[in-house]
Every structure is written in C-alpha cells, then in structure tokens.
C-alpha cells in the first residue's frame, strides 16, 4: 500500500506543476478573446506583471501618457484595476521615491500596495508623492471605472453601473456598452444598457438616421423624465424626420408621465383616505349607534398618540430591546386608555343628554377643550417625538411611483381595523345588539337589549378605535395637544358624506374625500382643493341629506 500511495502523490505533484507552468500561457491567450460571461477575475502572475509595468510608469508620465496608461490598465481586467483607477481619480494613488505605487485608504493612511494589496500601515517616515491628476483625466477615469463596473460579476453592481452610464451619456463608453450588452444575461440591465446606448447615440449623433430613430423609440419606451430630457435635445435637430419622431416620442412620454402623476396622486389620496378612515371610523360607530356627535372624538385620537409616546418612553427606560415593537404594544394600550376615557365620558356626561343631540355636541366640545388643556398642562405645548421602528421607515420605487413604507403600513393598518370592526359588529353577540340599537332603539329595548349598556360599550369602542387611530397618526403627524382638532372636521365630513350606521359608507367616504383632495391639489393648490371638497360636500348633502349609504326604512327618524 505504501509505495502505491507514494506513486499517486508524485503523479499529482507532476500534474500540478504542469498546470502551474501552463497557466500563464493559457490566460494570456484568453485575454485576446472576449470572455463569454462576466469576467470571473482570474489573477495571474503575467497579468500582475503587465499591470505592474503600467502602474509603475504612472508617476512619471505626462497627462496624455497617463490617460493612455489608464486605458491600458483598464484593459488588463485585473480585479484591482477598479480600486487603482478610482484611487487615482481621488488623488490617493501615491508613489515612494523608489517608484513603488501605493494607495492611501484614507487621506493620511493607512496605505496598501497598489498592485498586491499588501497592507503597509501608516508608512511613517517615508516621503510619498501624489500621482497628479487633472480634471480632464478625472473625467476619463470616472468613465473607465463605470465601464469596468459594467463587467462586474455582481448583478447589482452592473445594474447600478448601467444606470450611471445612462445618466452620464458619455460617448467614450459606447464600445464597453456594446461589449457588456453582448454578454449581459439579466434582461433589465440589458434594457438599461440599450437605453444608455440610445441616449448616447441621440446626444452625439454617432450613427445614421435609422439608428437614431431606433434610439428614439427605445427612449420613448423608457418613458420617464430622464428619457424626456434626452429627447428634448433633438428639438433643434436639422433632420426633419428625426425632429418629428422625437417630438412624437416626447408627447408620448409626457402622456405616460401624466398617467404616473395621476397614479401617484391617487396613491397619496388613498393614503390620506386611510388616515381619514382611521380618524372617522370610531366617530361613525358612536354617531351611528347613539346619534351623538362627539366633539371630543379628536381628543381621543390625541390620547392614543400620547399613549404611544408614553409607551415608548417607558420602554426606553425599562426595556430598550422592545423598542422595535413599541407600536404593537401601543395599540392595545391606546385602545384601553382612549376606550376607558370614552366610557368615563359616557357615564358621567353623555348619558344625561340622550335625546338632546345639540346639547351633547356642546358638552363634548367643552370636554375637548378640557382634555386639550389637560394634555398641554401635563406634557407641555411642544410636539413630542415618537420614533418610527425600522420596518416602517424607508421608501421604495414602483414603476415611477415613490411608495413610503409608513404610508403603506397605515393603509394596511386601516384596512385591518376596518375588517376587524366589521367582523366584530357582524359576528359577535355584542355586535348584533349594537346594530339592533342603531336600527331601532325602542324595538331593541323591547326585545331585551340593555340599551344603556350597549351605549356605554359602543362609546368605549368608538373611542378606543380613535385611540388606535392615534397610534397610527403619531407616525405621520406631530404629537401635540392640537393633533385631534386638525382631524375632527374632516372626520365629520367623512361620516356625513358616507352616511351613518354603515362602515362601508365610511370607507367609501374616506377614500373618496382623500383621493378627491389629492387630485384637486395639483390644479387648485392645497387650500382651494380643500375648500372645493368642503363645498362639494355641502352641495352633496343637499342631494343625499343622510349620506351615501343611508339607512333606509320606517325606523329612520325623519
């Protein structure tokens, strides 16, 4: 067995040696042909050597020579090329007296060898000289680096680089775009590259009319603001065909952009609508069941927002690790605080005023003043900071839409609240009783429903939901004593518009008003838009005095 093993080992060693000798030849041959896929960055002695020669000539070269050298360095395809070139353009490529070229990782070190990447520490006591660079050269270097990134094995780097080449529209990058296009596998990157090529073609007129027409078409299909800008440059073209084609492309892009604009406003409107929905939904319940206008409803929202603030402060002091779920903890807390306050109000004030809705309105208004002032006295008049958890911040791009996470969460959250409430009213015993009282109080009482209890609990429920709305609003609005007031009139409008006793009405009302507000804003401005909506509601009430989704039947009090 032993000799056998020895033989295998020696054979393997021989093979390894042969390979080692053959590799330089192999790679230098490979370099002449264009690789099929993105470069997988083989490092070899010959390449480094080649690179070493080029880099070592840099410090003493003139600017013109430097430019050529930089091009040649980029051609080597060595993985260190990108770092060398970008350091070069940032003025961090430096040389010792002996001609060793190093890179400063920060302005004053530490340093590393430009070729090998060996760490050299702070290099104290050694005189270094910058490899000088001027603006023209810097521009070229940027282009070179971007082009190098186009052949990076990492798709996200290539995607980024493709976008950059589009923005730069540098004619020198055309060959590398073509090269990258020929081997690009990701379709979206290839698309961006084609668009970049089109933008360059149009900007510099480097190909014939047919090619330019094709380029116009490519950009038209891209259909965003940058494409529009690239096309606008053709306005003054001498070629009539080109000019007309560009003009039609511009019109088409403008139309697309308008659609996106409308879509963006609709999204803003839905987001505003869901805020309104959250604010109004509790009001719809209490108003629907009891016919009571609770002017302190906005203050219930404010209480919810302040509960969120207090919960965060407590968590910060007691258990900072729970901060990321503070909002989730705040939801039941706000429901209990605001709901409790609601039941207290119902038991101490509102129950004495049933049958006198106008007086209820006044008493609850007085209550809202007291609550506002109480919060102002306790917490001070300034806005309180409420921290957004990580999973709620940030934004992403959907087509040409900018979607902020917090708004999406509020839309989702309002839908959840609506669904839960609807299910609650529909499937639970208490929900059935509530609906019975809404439709016909006397009949429900005759059937044994304890209307007093239902009133108190419904008021608590409505107020609790307002508290939950406060948790959501603390994310997009200032937590101040006036928080509730800014929503109260809008909430009333939603309830009046949507009709009483039907949560679908509240949903439709909130979304309609939200979207209408945001769609009017670009034409009329925020204030006039709001006035138009208010006037619209006043007129709408003329047609449907009981709102969109009015209760119908004999039980409705005339």
């Amino acid at each position: 067995m032993k000799p056998m093993r020895a033989t295998i080992r020696s054979v393997l060693t021989a093979i390894a040696l042969c390979l080692a000798l053959a590799t330089p030849l192999h790679t230098s041959a490979a370099q002449e042909t264009v690789p099929d896929g993105p470069t997988t960055a083989p490092t070899s002695a010959a390449e480094t050597h080649d690179l070493a020669g080029l880099v070592s000539r840099l410090p003493k070269a003139s600017y013109n020579e430097k430019s050529e050298l930089a091009g040649a360095i980029a051609e080597t395809g060595n993985p260190r090329v990108e770092l060398i070139l970008s350091s070069f353009s940032a003025g961090r490529l430096q040389a010792t007296k002996e001609g060793r070229v190093v890179i400063a990782l920060k302005d004053d070190g530490p340093y590393e060898d430009a070729l090998t990447g060996d760490k050299l520490g702070m290099m104290e006591g050694i005189r270094l000289k910058k490899v000088r660079v001027n603006n023209r050269l810097r521009g070229e270097l940027h282009g070179l680096v971007a082009r190098l990134a186009l052949s990076s094995p990492d798709a996200s780097i290539r995607r980024h680089a493709a976008r950059e080449t589009f923005d730069a529209a540098d004619p020198d990058s055309l060959p590398s775009i073509e090269k990258a296009l020929s081997r690009e596998t990701e379709s979206d990157i290839a698309e961006t590259l084609r668009q970049a090529r089109a933008a360059i073609i149009l900007k510099n007129g480097v190909v014939d009319e047919e090619g330019q027409l094709a380029a116009i078409e490519t950009l038209r299909d891209r259909g965003d603001l940058e494409a529009l800008n690239a096309l606008l440059g053709l306005d003054k073209s001498d070629n009539l065909v080109l000019r007309e084609s560009a003009a039609s492309a511009v019109r088409s892009i403008k139309r697309t952009l308008e659609y996106w604009d409308v879509a963006q406003n609709v999204y803003y409107g839905l987001s505003l609508g869901s805020v309104l929905l959250l604010a109004a939904i509790g009001l719809a319940i209490t108003f629907g069941v009891m016919g009571v206008i609770n002017m302190a409803h906005g203050e219930m929202i404010m209480l919810g927002a302040y509960t969120t603030y207090v919960v965060q402060q407590v968590l910060l002091a007691v258990a900072p690790s729970l901060m990321s779920v503070s909002l989730i903890i705040s939801i039941p807390a706000a429901f209990i605080v605001a709901g409790g306050a609601g039941i207290l109000i119902e038991r101490t004030i509102i129950r004495f005023l049933y049958g006198r809705p106008l007086e209820t309105l006044l008493a609850t208004w007085g209550l809202s003043l007291i609550l506002q002032q109480a919060v102002r006295t306790i917490f001070g008049p300034t806005n309180k900071p409420v921290v957004a958890p990580d999973w709620m911040s940030g934004a992403f791009q959907l087509g040409q839409l900018t979607i902020t996470s917090s708004r999406i969460w509020i839309i989702v959250f309002s839908m959840i609240v609506l669904a839960v409430l609807m299910a609650f009213l529909k499937y639970t015993h208490f929900g059935t009783q509530t609906r019975a009282v809404t439709q016909n109080r006397k009949m429900a009482a005759s059937m044994g429903v304890r209307t007093n209890l239902v009133d108190a609990l419904t008021f608590g429920l409505g107020s609790g939901v307002a508290g939950i709305a406060g948790v959501a609003l603390s994310q997009i609005d200032n937590v101040s004593p006036n928080l509730g007031q800014s929503y109260i009139i809008d909430s009333f409008m939603v309830v009046v518009f949507g009709g009483v006793g039907n949560l679908w009405g509240t949903l439709v009302g909130a979304m309609t008003l939200g979207v209408a507000n945001k769609l009017l804003e670009p034409f009329a401005g925020a204030v006039v838009g709001k006035i138009v909506v208010l006037i619209f509601i006043i007129l709408f009430i003329q047609r449907r005095p009981r709102g969109l989704f009015a209760l119908k039947g004999r039980f409705v009090d005339a």
């Binding site: 049933y354 007086e359 006044l362 007085g366 002032q373 009139i489 009046v496 509601i537």
Partner: protein, 395 residues
C-alpha cells in the same frame, strides 16, 4: 292663561333690557367724556371700547338665540356671518385710509401695494361710499345665509347634520380668507384704520359714539327679534323647533319659515361684526375659526336659550368672565371654558334667565291652582328635576 302670563313676564324682561341699555348708553359716555380723568368715577376709553365689544358679542348671541332658541337650528358657523359683516366694514375703513398708508397709494390699501397689485379688484369698488358699505354689511351675510339656508332647508338637512355643515362653512371661509390672493389681506386681515365718516377712530368721542350706536343696534335687534317671536310667525317657529314634521303635515312650509329667521339672524350677526371692527381696530381670518362660533353658542346657553334677554346677558357675562379670567389665570382659561360648556348643559339646561323664568312660572301656576295636583318640584332640587326631564326625553 299661561300664554297671557308668559307675555307679561317677557314684557317685564324686555322693559328691563331697554332700560338697562338706555342707562348704559347715557352713563358710559358721560363717565368717559364729562367726568374729568383724575376723578374716581372716570371711565377709561379702554373700558368704553371693552363694553362696546361686549355689546357686539351680545348682538351676535341675540342673533344665535333667534335661530337656536326659537327655531331649533344650532348654528356652529355664525362667526362666519359676524366676520363677513366685519370685513365689509373693514373694507370701508381701509378705503378711508386713502393716501395715509405706509406706501401712500391714494386708492390701493397697503397690502395690495405690497402684493404688487395695480388696481382695485372689482369687489372692492364702492366700498368708499358709506351707505353702500353698510348695505353690504347686511347683504353679504344675508345672501350667503340665503343661498346656504335655501339649499339646506329645502333638502331638510336638520339637527346635528346642519350644525356640522355650518361648521364646515365657516372653516372653508377661514381657509379662503387666509389666502393672500383673495384680496382681503391674507392672515394679517384689515387693520391700521384711520377714521370713520371723517371722525378719528382713535378719539374718545368717536369711541363713545360707536358705543352708543352699538347699544342702539342691540336695542333695535332686540326689538326686531321680539317682534318676530311675538308674531304668529314666531309661534310657527316654536312649532318647527318642537315638532318639525308635524308642523309640515299641518300644511306649513317649514323650510320658508326657517329660511326667513336664518337670514334675519345672519344679517344681525353681520351688523354685530361691522360694529365690532371699528372698536377693536382689526379684522382677520381668525374670526372665522369654528371655535369662535361654538364659543358664541355657550353664551346663549349660559344666559338661557329661547329668552332673547338671556342671550344678551350671557354674551356680556361670559365675556366679562373671560376678560377677568384670561387676565388672572390665562393658562386655565380653556379649563374654565370647557367646564362652562359641560356644566351649563348638564346642570343649567335652561340657562340663567330661563331658569329664573321657569321658577317664576311655576310659582304663578302654583298660586293659580292651589289645590291642583301638579308635579311639585322643590326649588332646592334643580338637578333631579333636570335629570328627570332628560330621562323622559331619552326614553
């Protein structure tokens, strides 16, 4: 019998109001102008202006009481009519500044010069003529109230729905008047007035004159309201308040009756605003704030809705209280105002005058039917009595 007695009571009250107003109209200018400044009895011009302001508020409260107390229409937007009347007066006063403004433009008010406007907007034309401006003081709120009320009453928008859209109305106007390009001075409003009908607006004599005019307007407003509620029309209004559907079934066009008092009330509020502006020296969009309108409602509630005299009393009393309180404990004013709303609606639903009238009426009834088995309610238990009635209404 009861009607007869009620008339008797309210005539007592009305006489009291007229006499009080007459005494004020004579005494206040006398102690301000005739009594020398060093004297202990001298009334400062500041006080005259303050009292004049209260009288304007009283007129606004009176206007509110006419619609709320007698017709059951709770307006949360009467501040809008008040402010519109005020703006009409303010526009006249602005035109009277003439070339004495900071920029010295003979026609354009300062804020228009500042906005680089070249000529007066059409809706400012004619406001340099006093009678025209006074006409507008009444017409602008009146026309707005007519359009708004016509639409609302025709489609039978009632109760809290109506209240909420009146609030929306004043809120919309608040937003609109904040805009600079509306041509009403944006959020600064109209101010820096110089003179009215040629009299220096700052002088003591003018202030006293304005006070007398305000008292006269209040008395006239009171007389008008009394005439309305005392007439047959007034009885229909009460019927509308208490059972609108039944009144309609009896063949009355309730919407027209409501529209009539609504417009009259708006005009009165406009006059109140117009008298308010020269005395305080400024009108700006904050007068449209919904909170102001609701505050005016509590004046009426405190004094006693449906009594007219109570509205005047409430308007004056609450504002005296406010002046004192905001001076003494400014940070607690909202507590006090809020508590006033809650306590008055819970414990004193009839208001001061209403409660007084109520007991006097009970007293008379008791005397009239000594051996009749009336529900006797001891005067020392007003809370239970109020609650009982509420429960009856709630059930």
């Amino acid at each position: 019998m009861i009607f007869h007695r009620l008339k008797h009571i309210s005539w007592d009250l009305a006489l009291g109001v007229y006499v009080t107003l007459l005494v004020l109209a004579i005494a206040v200018p006398f102690f301000n102008l005739v009594v020398p400044e060093g004297s202990a009895f001298h009334l400062s011009t500041y006080m005259v202006t303050l009292l004049g302001k209260y009288m304007c508020y009283a007129l606004l409260a009176l206007a509110l009481d006419l619609v709320w107390g007698y017709c059951g229409i709770l307006s949360l937007g009467h501040g809008a009519f008040f402010a519109l009347g005020g703006y009409a007066m303010g526009m006249y006063l602005m035109r009277m500044i003439g070339p004495r403004g900071v920029y010295g433009d003979p026609v354009l008010p300062d804020f228009m010069v500042f906005l680089n406007w070249k000529e007066l907007p059409w809706y400012w034309l004619g406001f340099d003529i006093f009678p025209f401006a006074m006409l507008m003081v009444v017409l602008v709120p009146g026309i707005l109230a007519f359009a708004f009320g016509y639409l609302a009453f025709r489609s039978r928008v009632t109760g809290v729905y109506f209240s909420i859209i009146t609030q929306a109305l004043t809120f919309a106007l608040l937003l609109a008047f904040f805009r600079n390009d509306m041509g009403f001075g944006g959020n600064n409003g109209l101010t820096d007035f110089k003179d009215i009908l040629g009299f220096d607006i700052q002088s003591d004599a003018t202030r006293s004159g304005l006070f007398i005019v305000t008292i006269a307007a209040l008395a006239a407003g009171f007389a008008i309201c009394r005439a309305i509620v005392g007439s047959k029309l007034g009885k229909v209004l009460l019927a509308v308040r208490d059972a609108e559907s039944r009144t309609r079934f009896l063949g009355y066009r309730t919407d027209r009756y409501k529209l009539f008092v609504w417009v009259v009330s708006a005009c009165l509020a406009g006059v109140a605003g117009a008298l308010y502006v020269p005395q305080v020296g400024i009108i700006n969009p904050s007068e449209f704030a919904p909170a102001n309108s609701i505050e005016a409602v509590v004046w009426v509630a405190v004094g006693g809705r449906g009594t007219l005299a109570g509205a005047i009393l409430g308007g004056v009393l609450v504002n005296i209280f406010k002046t004192w309180f905001t001076g003494a404990l400014p940070e607690f004013w909202l507590f006090a105002l809020g508590a006033l709303f809650v306590l008055v609606t819970l414990l004193l639903p009839r208001g001061i005058i209403g409660t007084a009238l109520h007991y006097r009426e009970k007293h008379l009834e008791k005397k009239a039917s000594e051996d009749n088995a009336f529900d006797e309610i001891a005067p020392e238990q007003p809370h239970d009595e109020a609650q009982e009635e509420l429960e009856r209404a709630g059930a």
